[in-house]
Symmetry: C2
DNA sequence: GGATTCTTATTGTATAGACATAATGAGCGC
DNA sequence: GCGCTCATTATGTCTATACAATAAGAATCC
């Protein structure tokens, strides 16, 4: 493991010392000049090692003052939002997809609110059911803004799930996810084959490109059948 | 915005073209030499711009072949795991904390499973209630491995919430989070002041340092009172 | 044709030097 | 002591150059 590039080794060394607690928050990190001597390299190399640590917030750098280990930073993790087909397949279960309903319509008040539109344009409203081993796995309720994605009009979503089609055909610049728990309406519970009182995990995603709203999707997972798992691996940690 | 460092501007330009779809997946990115001419800078500067893009997976670089926009990358987001006190205060509500119970004991079978221990050591089991404007906001069920964190024995968790104390006193190297929806036991529902049928959002976190298990915490949020929000901001995007 | 070798384009890494920028802390005037 | 100025120091950025590593593609040999 010591055959990697020097600047990466320096970075790994430092982040290791921080993560292990040897250098607590607030601790002063040796100056570039000192590290340069310690590792017997040029200042550019040291700088290349430290710059990303500063960018990701593990350390704070101040001119003249020096570099310091950050105060306990916001506790953030990377969460992989599942591609449902991949997720089901990864569990070794056969994946099934079914389009329950789908039609274009002028956005109603609720559509406008969910998509965050400023006026009621044409939208495509879809309801799809994803299955694992035949059993309902997730209900997808999706709105696609046809003003922003007119080419979605000609796609047959009975064959391909809209998530995958959108991902590969429509670029987006930003997305917001919302994760919550909810007791869902009776109709939804019936489709998912759970009791109306069962807790469901609701994942909502809204994407847009520039000012244009692209799509809004709500994925409802039946109760305790599904967990979102996020593993935190701090900057510079070996895989 | 064009007064930032050149290598950051180059990086922003490129990631913008990728995110906007102008450069689709698989598209060949101009060689370092070309970008060097385009921006009138040295190759080092171009390299400093591109290297982080490769590290975060937005692009793939191959010697002799060139640099290319990655195939639809894994759909991952950064999720800020809340510090409850900060979260409540940020909403403009007064924050309240209460220790419901706490005692040291030898780990029982369930403790062993939750902490992932290999033998039943001494643990500190805590139940705490977090309030917003007096109303229950979250129930915290926490186990602290006293074999790994002996100094926790002398702390009065009636005054300070264990999360904050651990964060600032005990370094950790890895964490795993699990987010799910659940119908909680009657006793839990009663403490939270919700119906036993109400869906609750359950956030579990387990942290460890090296091989040592540090703590396991389960935060139960009453139903739809709380959303986890994750905003995706691709590499190089302006804040 | 197919396997092997050679050439070369392209990225990876590092150096030494230069100037810019920001902020600390010392010195100075009052 | 207080406020101002200024030298100093550490980081921020960039250049020009060098050599290494890799793999694509061309040339060669059989």
């Amino acid at each position: 493991m010591s055959d990697r590039a020097l600047h990466k080794r320096i970075r790994a060394d430092i982040s290791e010392r921080i993560r292990s607690g040897a250098w607590p928050p607030g601790h002063k990190i040796p100056a570039e000049h000192e590290l340069m001597v310690e590792y017997g390299c040029s200042r550019m190399t040291v700088n290349k090692a430290l710059a990303p640590l500063a960018e990701t917030g593990l350390i704070v750098r101040r001119r003249k003052a020096g570099s310091f280990v950050s105060r306990p930073r916001i506790h953030s993790v990377v969460l992989d939002i599942p591609d449902i087909a991949a997720e089901v397949t990864a569990r070794g279960e056969p994946y099934g997809y079914e389009l329950l309903s789908g039609r274009a319509r002028t956005a109603n008040a609720r559509d406008v609110a969910e998509l965050g539109l400023d006026r009621p344009v044409e939208v495509l409203a879809l309801r799809c059911l994803h299955r694992a081993s035949g059993r309902p796995f997730a209900l997808e309720e999706r709105l696609i803004n046809l003003a922003a994605v007119p080419q979605a009009r000609g796609v047959d979503f009975a064959k391909a799930a809209p998530g995958g089609w959108l991902l590969s055909h429509v670029p987006w610049t930003e997305a917001e996810h919302r994760i919550s728990a909810a007791n869902v309406p009776k109709a939804t519970a019936a489709v998912l084959g759970v009791e109306p009182t069962a807790a469901c995990l609701v994942l909502e995603r809204q994407t847009w490109r520039g000012e244009d709203r692209i799509t809004h999707v709500r994925l409802v997972f039946p109760g305790e059948a599904y967990d979102l798992v996020a593993r935190f691996s701090p900057q510079g940690a070996p895989a």
